[in-house]
C-alpha cells in the first residue's frame, strides 16, 4: 500500500516536471521561431526594440557570462581544491567552505544590490560590463567552489597512495594526480556556473545596465538576453512580445547547448578516470 502511494507520487512528480519542461520548450520554440530570422542574430535593435535584432543582448550575454565564469573559476577552482585538501587541518579552509555555503543561499537580487553598491559606486566602475561580470562572478563563485570541493573529496585515497608510494610529494599528488581524476567534475562545475550565470537578470539590472549597442569597452554598459526578454515583454507592442520569445528561445538554446557540451566533455575526459 505504502509502496503504491510512493510510486504514485513519484509518477506525478515526474509527469509534472517533464510536462512543465516540455510545455515551456515547445511554447518558446513555437512563438520564438516565428520571430526568429537571421537579422535577429546579426543586427542591433532599431525603433526602441520593435525592429532590428538582438545582437546587443547576445554579445552582451556572451561577454558578461564568459568574463564572470573566468573570474569565478580562477578563484573558485583553487579555493575548492584547497578546501577539499585542507578542511581537516585549516581554519581558513573551514571558514571558506562555510562562506561558500552561505553565499549560495543568498537571492540573486541581493547580489545585484550589493554589486551596485560595491562595484558600481564604491569602486567607481559605473554601470558597466565589468561591474556586471564581477557581480555575476560573486553569484557563480559558491557553485564552483562547492562542486569542485565535492569532486575533489571523492577522489579515492588509493590513487593518492599510489602516487605517494612512488615518492611523489603532497603537491605533486595534488597537481598531477588528484586534478586529473577530478577534471571532468571541475569542468562540469565551471559549465554549470556559466549556464546559471547566463540565465540571471536580477544581478545585472543595476550593474551592467542595458544598452542598444554592443559594448565598446569593459567600462561601457552592456545588454544581456534575460533582461532583453524582460524589457521586451513589458512593452505594449505585439511585435516586441514576439521578439521577447525569440530572445528567450536563443537564451534557452545557448544554455541547453552548453549543457550538452559539458556532457560530451565529461564523457571524453572521463575516459582515464578511475572508478
Amino acid at each position: 500500500m505504502e509502496e503504491l502511494l510512493i510510486k504514485l507520487l513519484m509518477a506525478i512528480a515526474t509527469v509534472v516536471v517533464l510536462g512543465f519542461l516540455l510545455v515551456i520548450l515547445v511554447d518558446i520554440a513555437r512563438r520564438g521561431v516565428s520571430a526568429l530570422s537571421l537579422s535577429m542574430l546579426i543586427e542591433l535593435p532599431r525603433n526602441a526594440g520593435r525592429e532590428g535584432g538582438l545582437l546587443n543582448a547576445i554579445v552582451g550575454s556572451l561577454y558578461i557570462s564568459s568574463l564572470a565564469t573566468l573570474f569565478s573559476a580562477s578563484i573558485g577552482v583553487p579555493a575548492g581544491l584547497y578546501i577539499a585538501e585542507f578542511e581537516g587541518k585549516s581554519r581558513i579552509a573551514r571558514a571558506a567552505s562555510f562562506a561558500a555555503e552561505v553565499l549560495s543561499g543568498i537571492p540573486s537580487i541581493v547580489f545585484g544590490v550589493y554589486g551596485f553598491i560595491i562595484f558600481v559606486i564604491m569602486l567607481n566602475m559605473g554601470v558597466s560590463l565589468l561591474a556586471g561580470a564581477l557581480t555575476l562572478a560573486c553569484l557563480e563563485l559558491p557553485i564552483i567552489i562547492k562542486v569542485t570541493e565535492e569532486t575533489v573529496k571523492l577522489v579515492p585515497s588509493h590513487i593518492k597512495e599510489a602516487a605517494l608510494s612512488l615518492g611523489a610529494t603532497r603537491w605533486e599528488v595534488l597537481s598531477k594526480v588528484t586534478i586529473r581524476q577530478a577534471v571532468p567534475g571541475i569542468a562540469t562545475a565551471v559549465l554549470l556556473a556559466f549556464a546559471r550565470g547566463a540565465g540571471e537578470a536580477a544581478p545585472l539590472m543595476f550593474t551592467s545596465g542595458y544598452s542598444n549597442f554592443t559594448p565598446s569597452s569593459l567600462l561601457s554598459p552592456a545588454a544581456n538576453l534575460p533582461l532583453a526578454v524582460y524589457y521586451l515583454i513589458m512593452m505594449p507592442f505585439p511585435e516586441a512580445h514576439m521578439r521577447a520569445y525569440a530572445a528567450a528561445f536563443i537564451l534557452t538554446i545557448m544554455v541547453l547547448s552548453m549543457n550538452w557540451c559539458s556532457r560530451m566533455l565529461f564523457k571524453r575526459w572521463s575516459r582515464y578516470v578511475v572508478k
Binding site: A163, L164, L166, G167, T169, V177, V273
Partner: protein, 267 residues
Amino acid sequence: MLSSKSLKNLQHSRPSVQGKIVVENLNVYFGKHHVLKNLSIAIPDRQVTAIIGPSGCGKTTFLRSLNRMIELVDGAKVTGKVFLDGLNIYSPKVDSSDIRRRVGMVFQKPNPLPMSIYDNVAFGPRIHGIRNKKVLDKLVEESLKAAGLWDEVKNRLKDPAVSLSGGQQQRLCIARALAVNPEVLLMDEPTASLDPISSAKIESLIRELKRKYTIIVVTHNLQQAMRIADYVVFLFMGELIEHGAADEIFTSPRNTKTIEYLRGAFS
C-alpha cells in the same frame, strides 16, 4: 640537501646484524592502540620474504613502516629504527619521498593512476626529474617487460590504464613500481583480488624479480608462501613470533603458535 651517501656516513648508529633491511625495536601505535610490539628483524637481500599471520596481526602496518607510508595515517606513531642498507629511514634528515623511491610498494587492490598505461609507468621517473622522451620510452618498455605485460599492451600504450583487466592492472602497478628503479619491493597481498591464472603469473613474476630486488610479500595464502618464499616471518597480535628460512618454518616450526597457525587454527 645531503645525498643519501653522505648521510650514511653521518649515521652513527649502525645495525648490529646484516640484511638489506634491518628493523630494530620497531613499535607502531595508532593513537593508544599498540599495533606493532618491539619488532627486531633482518630482511635478507634479493630474496623473497613472506609475512604471514592471522588477520589484524599487523602485517600491513609492518609493511607500511618499511617505506614510511605509515606516516600518512592520522595518529600513527612510530618508534625504533629501520635501516635500509645501514641508513635509518626514520632519522630526521631523511626525505620520505627518497625512501619511497628506493622502497617500492604494490597494493592489495590494483590502483592505477587516472591516466594512460604509458603515463602510469612514466609517472615515477617523471616526478624524479626524467624528461627526455627517448629515455622515458626505454624505461617504460623495460619496466613493462620486467612485469611481463609488454606484449599485451605494446600497441595500446595510450589507452586508459583502467581499460586493462584486473590482473593486467596489477602487473601495470608492478611495472610502475619498477620504473623508479627501487631496491626493495613491498607487496601487500598482491594476488588477493585476482583470479588463479593472474595470480600464477604474478607469483612467477615474483620469483623472477628476486634476482634484482629484495621482495617482501604479505600473504594469507600459505600455499603461495611455500611456493614463493625463501624467508618467512610470522606475526601474531603485533608480535614477531618466529622467523627463518622458509623450509625450516614450514617443515619444523618451533613455536606452538606458529604450529597452530600452519595447521589452520586461526583464519
